[in-house]
Amino acid sequence: MARIIGGVATTHVPSIGKAIADKKQNDPYWSPFFRGFDYVQGWLAREQPDIAVVFYNDHGLNFFLDKIPTFAVGAAEEYRNQDEGWGIPVSRSIAGDPALSWHIINALVADEFDITMCQEMLVDHAVTIPMALMWPGENWPVKIVPIAINTVQHPLPSLKRCLALGRSVGRAIESYPQDLRVMVVGTGGLSHQLDGKRAGFINKEFDRLCMDKLAGEPDALTRYSVHDLVAEAGAQGVEFLNWMAMRGALSGRVKEVHRNYHIPISNTAAATVVLENGEGAERRAA
């Protein structure tokens, strides 16, 4: 049976892609962020995942505002990146696992999540940058199942719904008969705002609260509405929805084993967290 080994959450700011291309990892500006990946890379080398299920949001590469799915699951053999219009290098493609994708899709719909299914899906920096951060070498040793969550056009799904989506994805993975080591990834955040007179808004206290609750008490965060999240984390800080979905997929005894938090990278409070999914059932508040 497939087993979920843990999760990684990380910021996906586009300029990270440029910093990687320009080999700026050791620059004073960038190193506090990139150093946070030393642990992640070691953890991945030890844990050897076969698959990464990636919760992310598209920023106008695959989806335009003509059709915005709330939740969309990729079911392609290969996921390509393309010119995103803001000057970051185009990434290499990433292999998919259509059989696992369809298993997850079938399970989600049976579980009453009315998702969109995508046999062709471009993936943007929100997928490719975390991949490049986790595996900086020539090869990306995992196949992916990308799951896009709408964080762009309101109304957005709630934290509660994204946590439930993640839990459903977690149950689907654990019912997959193949022996696979699966990791889950949540990308984006933490607090930031690009638009309006409040541009540059960052909220260290709220970010800390979110990270402190994520491993042990994710349900406690569902008291925040999307409107609260915009107020507390900034207009684009709502990407924390992807983190919640990632967390939901971890059903065992969840422990934070790594955290890096640094302000600022671009306009963003940059954060990287690794959660381990230990043996034994999660104790969940009724």
């Binding site: 920023h59 106008g60 010119d83 638009d195 007179k197 541009a199 409070a269």
Partner: protein
Amino acid sequence: MKQDIPGTTMFDGGQAQKGYALNRMCFSFNSAENRAAFLKDEDGYCSKYGLTPEQREAVKSRQVLRMIEVGGNVYYLAKLAGIFGLNVQDIGAQQTGTTVDEFKAKLAAAGR
């Protein structure tokens, strides 16, 4: 009743509907060929995408706050800003009426 969040425009159905033509034009800037076509003939390119007169004026002004007022979404506007070589610190400074250095200093201060 939800309180408005100061300095923040929710990109909701109303904004998405109002800004459709502008955002659709910005979406086209995923292509280098289209970015070049815009630079070559901005008026012609804007009229091809059916921008309203207010949207046309907002683009001409290069002011992001004005573009948001006419329905622009920041992820799409960033593709337009990129054509002029502006990054998110540049447009952050512009929107908050500070210099880019002041804006960056404000970001750094948020970490202390």
